[in-house]
């Protein structure tokens, strides 16, 4: 990619300042008008363990975490051991030496090595905590990380803690600079120069979903903690009360979704957020929401499964559960996000769709987006429309499940005279009275299925990337879309005829759009991060397309190069 598209990986022991280093570098780049896309892996342990934080930055839009790093900054021996096979000719390697806990083997030819005595310097300053400041000073000199904005970021962070702490950290930063200054720079890597600052925010996927919830007019949230979704609840718990709403933590996910259903019945815009194991527990209540036509919204931040699986790892394997996970015929509207911006915008959409269609709406995010921070144009609240459910006008006798032209029956809030009715999971007539007659069940199922059908024509977040005929089309979903965008662009630049199709409305499936796209491609490749090829399965079941699945499930996202290699093999 472009030379000023740079990837810096900071690695070390969790708690050693790896995360804050990454955060500072990312914020400094964003302040300098650059785009950022960060990617992190955490230890599953609470304390210690290997942690990695990678910042990709460029003046142009970034769609994914990248192929590998250009610059590795290793805080300890483990970080070196884990990453040394990736030290390819051309990469730059900054490491804690001398005085650190390791001495690297012979550095491969072509690797640009910069030893910086981080631990030693920190020890001399009598503060182990300043190790990462030393590293950052060195990085800023070596790779042109904007010093002005970096200092602004440090001041913003440490200024709150008092002058003394701020000055101490700035001192450590200066020490790091001094250590790097005499080193001869042999590599070509440098962060692009500052451009005019853009009106952006830097936010993680989980915080973004929380922000989207606020922008979407959320009033009630019920949570149960689970990795990697809990930050959504934290964000909402912090900010929703400011807007007059509340969050409660329930005793389990069954209770969470039950509370959401109850609050929604009683007239409040409500949601929850969970990951696979929690979603599995919610299946029965989601069926109830479908049957009782109650708007409920939930975000599922997917993680490695099945069972407890790989809680901190990335996977896209809940599509089956999200679409069909309930007994009886009980579909929902299922959306999936590509990036952090989508986490904001599509959370609003999901809340709106739940209100409009009076059914469960699931928004799928994933482990790599949960913690990835990205630059996003600052959302303007005025740009978001908040949709409210269709309400009874008070005329005539109220029937909760009245047959209407569009299948959507007006709702009424408890407390309204004349609107009394029952919301029930039993099959029922228009008034809500239990009925097990064949024609009632058939008519009501047709009503409930029919009302969500038009969503494919009214809500079209799906994108086609490229025009005309192609030798191969990539169809993919979730955060893998970002990888496909870059792979498609690079393949095209190399002369390949490739296109991309990026569905974000997963269910109901916009079959016509799929078919129209496939008609322009000789072959269809479907990369996704799960074992079975779940999207491939739905494509085979619902369309006439014969997809070629391309699945990985190693706990990490695809890289663009990995996708490009596969395309070249089969094209």
């Amino acid at each position: 990619m472009a030379k000023n598209d740079l990837i810096i990986r900071v690695a070390g022991e969790g708690g050693e300042g790896v995360v804050s280093t990454g955060d500072f570098v990312a914020a400094a780049c964003a302040r300098a008008g650059l785009e950022i896309y960060t990617f992190k892996t955490f230890p599953a342990e609470i304390k210690g363990g290997y942690a990695m934080y990678q910042v990709r930055t460029s003046p142009d839009r970034i769609y994914n975490q990248g192929d590998t790093f250009d610059v590795l900054c290793a805080f300890n021996g483990e970080a070196y051991e884990v990453n040394k096979h990736l030290l390819k000719p051309g990469t730059a390697f900054v490491y804690d030496y001398p005085g650190g806990d390791f001495e690297p083997d012979a550095i491969p030819e072509g690797v640009h090595a910069y030893p910086i005595p981080m631990s030693k310097t920190a020890k001399e300053m009598k503060s182990y905590r300043s190790k990462n400041m030393v590293a950052m000073g060195a990085l800023s000199v070596l790779f042109n990380i904007n010093e002005v904005t970096l200092k602004q970021v440090l001041t913003k962070k440490f200024g709150k803690k008092g002058e003394e702490i701020l000055n101490f950290n700035l001192q450590a930063f200066e020490k790091g600079k001094e250590l790097a200054m005499p080193l001869k720079k042999t590599d070509p890597w440098r962060v692009a120069d500052a451009t005019a600052p853009k009106d952006v925010i830097v936010i993680s996927g989980n915080d973004a979903a929380g922000m989207g919830a606020l922008l979407g007019g959320l009033e009630f949230f019920s949570a149960y903690p689970i990795t990697p979704a809990t930050e959504i609840a934290k964000y909402v718990a912090t900010h929703l009360p400011k807007l007059g709403g509340t969050l409660i933590q329930a005793e389990d996910e069954i209770a969470s979704i039950g509370q959401v259903l109850g609050a929604s019945y009683a007239g409040k815009k409500s949601m929850t957020a969970t990951s696979g194991p929690g979603l599995a527990l919610m299946a029965e209540m989601l069926g109830m929401a479908f049957m009782s036509e109650t708007p409920v919204m939930l975000v599922d931040v997917q993680r490695g499964g099945p069972s407890t699986g790989l809680p901190t790892k990335h996977e896209q394997s809940d599509l089956f559960l999200a679409i069909h996970g309930a007994h009886g015929d009980a579909p929902r509207i299922v959306l999936s996000v590509e990036d952090v911006k989508d986490c904001i915008d599509m959370t609003v959409d999901a809340l709106n769709l739940a209100e409009e269609y009076q059914c469960p709406v699931l928004l799928l995010s994933d482990g790599s987006l949960a913690f990835s921070t990205q630059t996003v144009p600052r959302p303007n609240p005025a740009d978001y429309t908040i949709v409210h459910r269709k309400m009874w006008d008070g005329e005539g006798t109220y029937a909760r499940y009245k047959m209407t032209e569009d299948g959507i029956s007006p709702m009424v809030n408890p407390g309204t005279p004349g609107g009394m009715h029952i919301a029930t999971g039993l099959e029922h007539t228009e008034s809500g009275a239990p009925s097990f007659k064949a024609e009632t069940h058939e008519q009501m199922q047709a009503k409930r299925f029919g009302k969500i059908k038009p969503v494919v024509n009214r809500y079209k977040p799906t994108e086609v990337d490229g025009e005309g005929e192609a030798d191969l089309g990539i169809i993919t979903w979730g955060s893998t879309i970002g990888v496909a965008r870059e792979a498609v662009a690079r393949l095209r630049a190399e002369g390949y005829k490739v296109k991309g199709f990026y569905p974000k409305l997963m269910w109901p499936m916009p079959v016509e759009q799929y078919e129209a796209f496939a008609a322009t491609c000789k072959k269809i490749l479907v990369p996704e991060v799960n074992y079975q090829g779940q999207l491939s399965h739905f494509i085979r079941a619902e369309t006439s397309i014969k997809p070629i699945p391309f699945t990985i499930c190693g706990g990490l996202p695809f890289t663009p190069i990995q996708m490009m290699d596969r395309v070249k093999e089969i094209i």
């Binding site: 952006v200 925010i201 922000m211 009360p241 109850g262 209540m285 609240p381 408890p414 009394m420 999971g425």
Partner: protein, 292 residues
């Protein structure tokens, strides 16, 4: 429940009957409980449109169908969470949960402690018939081991639980017990529960003549003893002592415990007040916190 906040109306018990006809077996104790509910609603002058009756699944969970009100018939064991959500969404309205011993203490047992300790402002009436009625007679968490039932043809292997001790332990702020054969007492206890601000729990013994052959009306008449005059309802230890039953194994009926403590909705409202929250708060201030 916030009956005080309700718009008071002047109605007769029969006015709370819905148009749905009652489906319970003849001789079922639930008929008596239902009439006690109608009576207490009428005596309090509860406005139906400000009442939400919510249940799970079971014969007892059919109750909301028979009451004129807003209502939800949910999933087996899940009335509690759904009612909690509804109550928090509309704290000015009254919420009444009805359900069985299986619904509340078996499948829904994970929710009970939390409604009690959080002091969710609602009334929970548990129809305790020592059996799963709807599924045709399996033993329940309150069945006696002597009961030979559908899945316990040789008697039960389990020790029955004590719902009153359970509720007292977990912090319910109103705990009472009645017997369907004493509708006047039940009506009084339910009325007290509806008037109580906080989580109020009423356990009502009720015969299931169809499936529970041993917990008969006669058995319950012999089992129950009125809470002694002079019992201090604010004394948790004394309430627990009564709930443990006396040396002859008699079960207390009447009000055992009643105290006041802030409710969950009050505590949540206090958080909103603490942060100065309101509908007109400028969301831009929250967005700007994410600027780099």
């Amino acid at each position: 429940m916030s009956v005080a906040a309700l718009h008071k109306v002047d109605l007769k018990p029969k006015d709370y009957k819905s148009e749905v006809s009652v489906v319970w077996c003849p001789g079922c104790g639930y008929h008596g409980i239902l009439s006690s509910i109608y009576k207490s609603l009428a005596e309090l002058g509860v406005d139906s449109s400000n009442l939400m009756a919510i249940s799970g699944i079971g014969c007892s969970s059919r109750t909301p169908y028979f009451i004129k009100s807003y209502k939800m018939h949910t999933l087996h064991g899940r009335a509690g969470p759904v009612a909690t959500g509804a109550q928090l969404a509309q704290p000015e309205q009254a919420v009444l949960v009805t359900g069985g011993d299986g619904d509340g203490f078996s499948i829904g047992g994970g929710h009970m402690p939390h409604m009690a300790r959080k002091n969710v402002n609602l009334t929970y009436i548990l129809y305790d018939n020592g059996i799963y009625g709807l599924t045709k007679g399996q033993y329940s968490p309150t069945s006696r081991p002597e009961l030979k039932a559908y899945t316990t043809p040789y008697g039960g292997p389990d020790e029955p639980m004590n719902p009153l001790l359970y509720m007292l332990t977990y912090g319910a702020t109103y705990v009472a017990q009645g017997f369907a054969g004493k509708p006047q007492l039940c009506a009084e206890l339910i009325k007290g529960a509806l008037e109580h601000k906080g989580f109020s729990y009423v356990n009502i013994f009720s015969q299931c003549p169809t499936f529970n052959s041993i917990d008969t009306v006669e058995f319950y008449r012999e089992l129950v003893r009125e809470v002694p005059e002079g019992h201090d309802t604010s004394n948790l230890g004394a309430a627990m002592e009564l709930a443990r039953r006396d040396a002859e194994g008699h079960a207390p009926i009447g009000l055992l415990y009643k105290v006041n403590r802030p409710t969950l909705d009050e505590r949540l409202a206090a958080i909103v007040t603490k942060v100065g929250g309101h509908k007109g708060y400028d969301i831009n201030k929250i967005i700007d916190l994410a600027s780099p």
